[in-house]
Symmetry: C2
Subunit: 320 residues, 2 copies
């Protein structure tokens, strides 16, 4: 949850004169996303989300993120559509921060993922990968293999505060990932943060993805690995193979997954677990006192990592 | 800002089957109110706010609050209207908390009150007082004169952490208020928390009041005194007599204010300043580390109190 920046009446009014969105009828800070300030905005034309990008998002990446939403929408993939101002630009500045308005996407994020959600997710993820295939911009993943060790170094000295053996275990795991990480798998634009918060459902269908602010170019199968971790474990961190099977099979029905991708799933899932463990560990050790955002438990991802370490092959994920 | 309670999918679905509100299309925690959990809810029938009442609101007071909104709406005074379920009840339980759905009120709270806002506020406040005149329920103010000394005692020992002389000054002020507080002024239902956050404007008009969870029976003029403090001081805590004049005169145009009420304004304004100073002081000294809500500065109300202590009569508020 996050509303970091207070927008004054004058700044908001001035900002909106740059758009053809009618008159403002409601404006409320919403508890969505942990990286940016988000406001629900109703005007005489419709409902929108105004986002102010806070410091964790690099301004130079915004054309990629907004361009991607525009591209995916154009391909019929449901996601928020950036709204252009009178000058044709959708990215501008408000309260000294980059800011953009996007259309409001109807739907509800599941608090708890059910098997059917996983089935719908797999198909939609494949459709997103295909729809992004000819997106012209490129953005390297800034939280991939090469970035994990420097990220780990920033927490190493205090990792024992979270778990006594965590530093040593992560050290060994990073060595393993360096040696075993695949070099050559099908690549393209991935979402890279597809937690249930970022997927909306409406009745019995998936109504779209939101929050593309980690999207980047990387292995398609790495996106699947992130989803395995985010959707297929229960509250007690037990792996639910039924959910994994539904996720993977519905993905494969919509996009052909080759043998090398399947073979790589266990190591990609370990890497995906390490990536979230490391950012959560850093946030846990460094969140300011009295911060508005409660840091997430890094040890949730420790448990997931341990599960994948014991996996002997992709069959463990319910694949036939 | 506040979303304290996470509502599970099953609880939400089960709750909504008790209403005729169509299908849910969006559900978002919103940063509104500091006492309760609020969610913006869109359904195929319209837009609503779902509120879960957290521990600071006493469950036995809720029929008064919801009944008042219902009563005021019925009199044509714009405010959220509690939505009754299929059983005719608007108050029920969700996630172990009292909960209610109200209609969504269009409008924007000013971040900074302008003179015109104060003029519109005065008239609307008078209309609310008149509309509430025949409301059948009654609720004593639980934060009035007799409650301030016990509230002060809970912070006294640590008041010096906020300001070295605060405890002694508050002691003297409470003695003064005990002696000077009026005993017999026109009474009725007051809002008692009419900060700019709780007043919505749309174009050039006031579109309604929200957040009636401090409403109670008390002196009408005490509501005016609360508004003087909340609306007529600038960011640097300088008193803006133009705003006060507009507030008071537009109020008096809509409801006749007698001489005793006017005469009492300075002491009521001191009392209103003490009331908010004391609750803010307590919250300041007792907010849990890492709390989602940042406590408000008690010393803002210290400055306001000091202003009213120097006032020699209601003329200081711009009255003719």
């Amino acid at each position: 949850m996050a509303v970091y920046t207070e927008v004054s009446d004058e700044e908001l009014t001035g900002f909106l004169t740059q758009y053809d969105l009618g008159d403002l009828t409601a404006f409320k800070g919403i508890a969505e996303g942990v990286e940016n300030s988000n406001f629900l905005m109703r005007t005489t034309h419709g409902t929108y989300i105004l986002t102010l990008y806070e410091k964790r998002v690099r301004a130079e990446d915004l054309p990629f993120f907004l361009g991607l939403m525009h591209h995916l929408s154009g391909k019929g993939f449901a996601c928020p559509l950036p709204v252009a101002g009178k000058d044709g630009e959708s990215l501008r500045e408000l309260c000294g921060r980059p800011a953009a308005i996007v259309t409001f996407l109807d739907g509800l994020s599941p608090r708890r993922a059910l098997p059917d959600h996983c089935r719908l997710l797999g198909e939609a993820l494949a459709r997103m990968h295909i729809a992004g295939g000819d997106f012209a911009l490129r953005r390297d993943n800034s939280l991939s293999l090469a970035d994990w060790r420097p990220l780990f170094e920033r927490s190493r000295a205090r990792a024992h505060e979270v778990r006594p053996d965590l530093a040593e275990a992560l050290e060994r795991e990073l060595d393993h990932l360096d040696a075993a990480w695949p070099r050559d798998l099908p690549c393209g634009v991935i979402h890279a943060d597809l937690f249930p918060d970022n997927v909306f459902f409406l009745s019995e269908r998936l109504s779209g993805f939101i929050d593309f602010y980690f999207a980047c170019n990387d292995f398609y199968a790495y996106d699947l690995a992130i989803c395995l971790n985010a959707w297929c474990f229960e509250r007690d961190n037990a792996f639910n193979v039924t959910k994994a099977r539904l996720l993977l099979n519905s993905y494969r029905n919509a996009r052909a997954v080759d043998a090398a991708e399947l073979e790589a799933l266990p190591v990609l899932a370990r890497g995906a677990a390490v990536r979230f463990l490391l950012t959560r560990l850093y946030d846990w050790l460094n969140h300011p006192e009295g911060a508005l955002v409660k840091p997430k438990d890094p040890l949730e991802y420790w448990d997931k990592l341990r599960f994948h370490q014991d996996v002997r092959g992709p069959g463990a994920y319910g694949l036939d």
